[in-house]
């Protein structure tokens, strides 16, 4: 299978790629099945890190750094705060219950098999393109063709900022009254 997918193991980069892929897959599995929600969250750290590494292998250096900055520095910290603010500080082993794990596993396995079948059987129109710097191109696309979505997403971010602050603040006042 490995040879079929064209991974040359004599290349050091292939081993690094395999390491990142293994980290991503194993930690994603850990997020899904861990009994401890804190372990799930810190596995998510490894998943995000591994995905950033995969972006580097796809020559998407700008998005890899953005992934680190936004997912690890932002979203993961938010999730950790969410865990720590919604649980008692004392219990270190915070359980993470599941419902219908067998049914969920069947559905997830089905989805994975269909996606894997499609991605292995489809005749992809692959283009052999030399790697190019992406930051300039992304900037041009944002300032040109995608200017309206770009502005809309900035308005969305502002709305999310105000909305999140409002949601958190209102309950505080209610508590104090």
């Amino acid at each position: 299978m490995i040879a079929v997918l064209g991974l040359q193991l004599s290349n050091p980069g292939a081993w690094v790629f395999l390491a990142f892929a293994a980290v991503t897959v194993a930690s994603a599995l850990m997020v899904a099945v861990s009994r401890n929600i804190v372990y799930s969250a810190f596995s998510l750290l490894l998943t995000f890190f591994g995905v950033a590494g995969l972006y580097v292998f796809l020559d998407a250096d700008f998005l890899a750094a953005a992934q680190l900055l936004v997912y690890i520095g932002g979203i993961l910290v938010l999730i950790l705060f969410g865990i720590m603010l919604t649980n008692k500080i004392r219990d270190i082993h915070v359980s993470n219950d599941t419902t219908n794990p067998i049914l969920g596993a069947v559905v997830a396995a089905g989805i994975f098999l269909v996606l894997a079948y499609v991605s292995l059987r489809c005749d992809w129109q692959v283009e052999d393109r030399p790697p190019a710097a992406t930051a300039h191109e992304i900037g041009r696309a944002f300032m040109g063709r995608y200017l309206l979505p770009f502005e809309a997403s900035s308005v969305l971010l502002l709305g999310a900022l105000i909305g999140a602050a409002y949601l958190a603040r209102r309950s505080e006042k209610k508590e104090g009254a």
Partner: protein, 127 residues
């Protein structure tokens, strides 16, 4: 290239499946949010992988036509055609940040109101 497109698609599919499993089976709302992030990451891997490997064309098939993209072909003021997948991924990252902030605000609100973040028990609006 070190790894072929299929590798990335398989990893993306696996992340998607684990994300779906997490969303379906977890009771804790924060865990469900983690599943959503996994799904978004899976989508991003696919977007960037297609952006890296696939020729920008209008349809797959023998008579596929290159899209009339931009007035400047390679890398004009609008950006090269092959960058679109990465631009989409950047939008997904932005949306994920906004979504996580609002979701955490809602989860904290639920916790303050109900004292729990179990998604099975937030049924107050049920008729």
């Amino acid at each position: 290239m070190i790894a072929s497109l299929e590798w990335f698609l398989l990893i993306g599919a696996f992340l998607f499946a684990t994300g779906v499993y997490t969303i379906l089976t977890r009771k804790n709302a924060v865990s469900v949010l983690m599943g959503v992030e996994l799904v978004l990451n899976a989508a991003n891997i696919n977007l960037i992988a297609f952006s890296r490997f696939i020729k920008p064309v209008s349809s797959i098939g023998p008579q596929s036509v290159a899209l009339p993209m931009e007035p400047v072909a390679a890398s004009g003021i609008y950006g090269a055609p092959w960058i679109q997948g990465q631009v989409f991924a950047a939008f997904v990252i932005v949306l994920a940040a906004a979504e996580a902030a609002v979701a955490l605000g809602i989860i904290l609100g639920i916790y303050r109101g109900l004292g729990d973040v179990n998604v099975d028990e937030t049924v107050r609006l049920k008729g």
